[in-house]
Symmetry: C2
Subunit: 191 residues, 2 copies
DNA sequence: GCTTGCTATGCAACTCGTTGCATAGCAGGA
DNA sequence: TCCTGCTATGCAACGAGTTGCATAGCAAGC
């Protein structure tokens, strides 16, 4: 739907090659829009044929050539038109929530395995939160003096931080709930 | 990926026709897994041919026949196997976050339009939260006395409530940030 | 010398998800 | 009477996203 637009925003912030874009989608942009390099290369070609982007070939010593993509005025117009269109409702897909409700149809051993899995999942989110907070200290040390772009990037990052904090608190709630169902098993697993 | 498993959980909680399932995916299950009736009918057929489900044809007065689907032992085994497999990382796709970062490349008029859109979006989420809270009062009036299934359904609902509260707080942060960028315009729009 | 991993791009095949449309009878309101 | 909307299911076409694989040179470590 709007991978194109996520790419436009990223390239307006800073022109990049497909490969660099793919790495951004593993990092900052990936906080709110995921994409693989396959998707990105395919969409870049379509955007070029639609005259949304132009490429500058750059030769590199000892490395393959790369194409640095920039947004054309046409692409920028397309982005602005999309920005002013209504926001689509999000398609929620939360696998863990399905598993938690499904745990009612497994036995105590299965729920103990789920507890372990939720703990692992929680550790991942704790690491993500720590990464966000480190990025915030690094990129936005002074909340007062900054331009529109930084202010908007920062508020999106704060959204990521708020999300991760909410998830961690909820996962604690989930762990308490799961352990209350099978007190003996969880006492064994967590003496 | 796991629409099958969401369907298995829902049918184990209560057997249903494809149509009834589709409505559940607009309501309780839809809080954490969305699906259209097209997807559901297609997947139900595949699950039947995999012997995960059986159908009972039910004639109705004045209405088309319907098939009531139930989970077979094979289907239940498949669910349990999936429950015990690792949780996959979620694919995040948050269109509004892309638009907010994109707002740096629009003008004050565009950002004013985005403020209006965020306000509408906020109202939707406030309504969703109100619906969740009403459902919680209706379905889980007594947090003490209840079985595993209710406890697990409730903790998933609490996750939805925590999510909506977090979103509302973040949207207020977003609105403040957007208004700070164009004080004159926002004063005009919000006297 | 061999393996692993990084930069850099891409094809092909597949599955998943969306959109538009179709059928068909009945109920309720303008 | 006509239109809208609900129950109930489904086909067909398309678009989005995933997975596996391929190329190709260089650097670093064992």
């Amino acid at each position: 739907m709007s991978l194109e637009h996520a790419i436009l925003v990223s390239l307006l912030e800073q022109p990049a090659s497909g490969y660099e874009l793919a790495r951004r989608f593993d990092r900052s942009i990936g906080r709110f829009w995921t994409a693989t390099h396959q998707q990105i290369y395919r969409v870049l070609k379509r955007m070029e044929s639609d005259d949304w982007l132009t490429a500058e070939e750059v030769g590199q010593e000892g490395l393959p050539d790369k194409k640095i993509w920039s947004v054309t005025p046409t692409g920028r117009s397309a982005l602005v038109a999309w920005l002013r269109a209504p926001v689509q409702p999000e398609a929620v897909r939360h696998e863990l929530a399905v598993k938690i409700r499904g745990a009612a149809f497994d036995d105590a051993a299965g729920r103990a395995a789920l507890v372990a899995e939720v703990e692992r999942y929680r550790a991942d989110h704790a690491a993500t939160l720590a990464g966000y907070l480190a990025g915030e200290r690094r990129d936005f040390p002074d909340p007062a003096a900054r331009d529109a772009r930084a202010a908007l990037q920062h508020v999106v990052l704060r959204g990521g931080i708020a999300y991760e904090r909410m998830v961690l608190a909820w996962l604690d709630d989930v762990l308490d709930t799961l352990r209350d169902l099978d007190p003996a098993t969880s006492r064994k697993a967590n003496p």
